[in-house]
C-alpha cells in the first residue's frame, strides 16, 4: 500500500515536472518570436540607486498595461548609468544629478546628444524627536550639526542636550546629496551614527530625545506621528519652509533636487512610449506613491 502510494506520488511529480518543462519551452519559443518583430520590445534603464524603487514601480505598471513589453531596471549609481548611456549599453539612464560637463564632452565626442528630462523631485526632510522644542533650523546650522561643529542643542537655540547625529550609510545617494547640499561638501562628523535604512533612522529619531536625522520626504510624512519634521531656512533672511509636495515642487524648500531620465537623442518607439508613461498622470501618481514629488 505504502509502496504503491509512493510510486503514485513519484509518477505525479515526474509528469508535473515534464508539463512545466514543455510549457516553458513553448513560451520561450513564442517569446523569441515576439522580439524578432520590427519593434524593439525590451528596454533597459540603468543608473541612480535612489531612483531604482521609483523606476521599477514605473516599469511594473508599464509592463502591466503593455503586455509583451519588457523594461529591465538596474542600479549602480548615477555615474554608472551615464557611462552606460555613453557606451550604448542602456537605453535610458536614471540620474539623481545633472550630467557633468566632462561627461557631456565625452558624449559629444561619441556623437551622442544626451536628452535630459526631469521626471520627479526628491525632497529631504530633517527629523527630530517629537519632544524636541526646535521648530526650525537654517542650512548653516544643519551644516554645523552634521559636521560636528555644534555638539549640543543649546548651540542652535535648543535645550542643553547632547545632539545625536543620525545619517544614512555612505553608500546611499541621499548621504552624498545631503553632504553636498547641507554640509557644503565637508565630511560628516566621525561620531555620526550611520544607519542601514530609513526605517532605522525613523525608529531611532522617535526614541532618542537628542537625535536628528534626515530621510526622504515621503518617508518623513508617513512617519509624522512618530517624529517631528523641522522647517528649514535657506539662510537667516529667508523664511522657514516646511517640506511638502508644494514647497518641494516650487523650489521654496531648500533641500530638494530634481531626478532625471537621460536618453540619447529624441525618444522614439518603446522608449518614447515608456517616457510618455512616466510623465503621464498615472506615471506621476506612481511618483507620489513611492515617496517623491511629481513634476507635472
Amino acid at each position: 500500500m505504502n509502496e504503491k502510494m509512493r510510486r503514485r506520488v513519484r509518477e505525479i511529480f515526474i509528469s508535473a515536472v515534464t508539463v512545466v518543462m514543455v510549457l516553458s519551452l513553448i513560451s520561450g519559443c513564442s517569446r523569441q518570436g515576439d522580439s524578432a518583430g520590427a519593434e524593439q520590445r525590451f528596454i533597459t534603464v540603468k543608473g541612480s540607486d535612489t531612483m531604482v524603487h521609483l523606476v521599477s514601480s514605473w516599469a511594473e505598471s508599464f509592463m502591466q498595461q503593455n503586455p509583451g513589453f519588457e523594461v529591465s531596471v538596474t542600479g549602480g549609481g548615477s555615474g554608472t548609468g551615464i557611462a552606460a548611456l555613453l557606451n550604448g549599453t542602456t537605453d535610458i539612464c536614471a540620474a539623481s544629478r545633472k550630467i557633468k560637463n566632462k561627461e557631456l564632452e565625452l558624449a559629444l565626442q561619441k556623437n551622442i546628444h544626451p536628452n535630459e528630462i526631469a521626471v520627479a523631485r526628491d525632497g529631504i526632510a530633517v527629523v527630530v524627536h517629537p519632544d524636541n522644542p526646535i521648530n526650525e533650523l537654517t542650512l548653516e546650522q544643519l551644516g554645523r550639526i552634521f559636521t560636528g561643529e555644534s555638539l549640543r542643542w543649546s548651540d542652535v537655540g535648543g535645550p542643553d542636550k547632547h545632539i545625536i547625529v543620525l545619517s544614512r550609510e555612505s553608500s546611499s545617494g541621499t548621504y552624498v546629496f545631503f553632504q553636498e547640499m547641507v554640509l557644503k561638501k565637508q565630511d560628516y562628523m566621525q561620531d555620526a551614527k550611520l544607519l542601514p535604512a530609513t526605517s532605522a533612522i525613523i525608529q531611532s529619531a522617535s526614541t532618542d530625545k537628542g537625535a536628528i536625522g534626515y530621510v526622504g520626504l515621503g518617508y518623513a510624512l508617513a512617519a509624522e506621528d512618530r517624529v517631528k519634521i523641522v522647517a528649514v531656512r535657506a539662510d537667516e533672511a529667508s523664511p522657514a519652509v516646511m517640506p511638502s509636495d508644494q514647497t518641494v515642487k516650487s523650489g521654496q524648500y531648500p533641500i530638494a533636487r530634481p531626478l532625471y531620465l537621460y536618453l540619447s537623442g529624441e525618444p522614439e518607439g518603446t522608449v518614447k512610449k515608456f517616457m510618455d508613461f512616466c510623465l503621464s498622470a498615472e506615471g506621476q501618481k506612481v511618483v507620489t506613491d513611492t515617496g517623491y514629488v511629481a513634476v507635472r
Binding site: 553632504q179 565630511d187 566621525q190 561620531d191 550611520l194 532605522a200 531611532s204
Partner: protein, 291 residues
C-alpha cells in the same frame, strides 16, 4: 562484476570531487580577496590602512584607516564573549550533568531553535526591543551601542557554545566521576573540580568557535551598533565593525576604486581573524580528543 567495480569507482571519484571542492573554494577566496587587497597595498599603499579615520566617501579627502573598524569588531567580540562564557558554560553543565531527562528534552530543542533564528530577525528584535531597553537601563542618550551588538551576538553564539561544550562534558569518562564521588566529594565538587576541568579543552574550543561566529556576524550588529567609525573602549559608544562596513558599502562602491580595494583589505583582516580562531579551536579540540 567489472561493471559494479567501475560504478563504485565513479561514485568514489564524484564524492572525492565534492569533498575537495571546499578546499578549492577556500584557496580561491584567499587568492581573489588577496589580489584586490594587494592592489591597494601597492597604490595608495598599505600605510593608508593604519590610519585612525575611516571616511570612504568625501569631497575633501578619503581616508581608509582600518583601526576604528578593527577596534570596533574587537570591542563587540570581547563584550559578547564576556556574556557568552558564563551563560554557555553554565547551561551546558546543567544540561549534561544536572538536568532530568524531561528538562533536557525541553531545553535542547529551544537552544536549537535559538541557533536557527536568522540573524536579521535577531537584529530587528535588537533595534526595536533591546536598544530602547539598554537606553532606559543605563540612562544613555541612545541605545545604538557596542553593548547592544554584543548582547545580540551573545544570543547567537550561546547555542554553539552550549552544544559543543555539552559534548565535551559528556565525554568525560564515567570513571573519573565515580572515583571522585567514591572519595567522598559532593556532586557539585565533582562537577567543578573534576568534570569541568577534564572537559576544559573542549569548552575552550567551543568558546573559540562561538567567537568565530561572532566576529563574522553582520546583519544583527549592523542594525544596532550605530556604525560610527570611532575608536573607543566604552561599551556605551557606537562602533562600526568590519563586517558591517563591508556589507553597507560594497553594494554601491565604484568597481576598481581605492574604496573598493580598501573593502577587500577589510575582508582580508576579517578572514585572517576567523581563520586564526578556527585553526586554534581545531587544534585544541584535536589535542583534547587524543588525550
Amino acid at each position: 562484476m567489472m561493471k559494479a567495480a567501475g560504478k563504485e569507482r565513479a561514485i568514489k571519484v564524484t564524492l572525492f570531487a565534492t569533498a575537495s571542492t571546499s578546499i578549492l573554494i577556500v584557496i580561491g577566496i584567499f587568492v581573489f580577496v588577496g589580489k584586490e587587497a594587494g592592489q591597494f597595498a601597492i597604490e595608495p599603499g598599505a600605510k593608508e590602512l593604519l590610519g585612525s579615520r575611516w571616511v570612504p566617501v568625501s569631497f575633501q579627502k578619503e581616508s581608509f584607516g582600518l583601526l576604528p573598524l578593527i577596534t570596533g569588531s574587537l570591542l563587540v567580540t570581547f563584550l559578547a564573549s564576556l556574556l557568552t562564557v558564563p551563560f554557555g558554560v553554565g547551561s551546558s553543565v546543567y544540561i549534561s550533568e544536572l538536568a532530568r531527562p524531561v528538562e533536557r528534552e525541553i531545553l535542547k530543542p529551544f537552544i536549537e531553535i535559538l541557533a536557527g533564528i536568522p540573524s536579521v530577525v535577531i537584529g530587528f528584535f535588537g533595534l526595536v526591543v533591546l536598544a530602547p531597553l539598554i537606553k532606559a537601563v543605563f540612562r544613555l542618550p541612545t541605545g545604538l551601542t557596542a553593548l547592544a551588538g554584543a548582547v545580540l551576538l551573545a544570543l547567537m553564539a550561546i547555542p554553539t557554545v552550549i552544544s559543543i561544550s555539552e559534548d565535551a562534558i559528556r565525554s568525560v569518562p564515567e570513571s573519573y566521576k565515580a572515583a571522585s564521588l567514591a572519595l567522598g566529594a559532593s556532586k557539585m565538587q565533582t562537577i567543578w573540580r573534576v568534570t569541568v576541568p577534564a572537559a576544559l579543552p573542549g569548552i575552550i574550543a567551543a568558546v573559540m568557535l562561538g567567537m568565530g561566529r561572532v566576529i563574522g556576524e553582520t546583519m544583527a550588529v549592523m542594525m544596532v551598533t550605530g556604525n560610527a567609525a570611532v575608536i573607543t573602549a566604552s561599551p556605551f559608544d557606537s562602533v562600526r565593525t568590519m563586517t558591517a562596513t563591508i556589507a553597507a558599502e560594497m553594494g554601491e562602491v565604484p568597481f576598481g576604486s581605492d574604496h573598493y580595494r580598501a573593502l577587500f583589505c577589510v575582508g582580508i583582516v576579517l578572514l585572517l581573524a576567523t581563520f586564526g580562531l578556527n585553526m586554534v579551536a581545531q587544534k585544541v579540540l584535536k589535542k583534547y580528543r587524543m588525550g
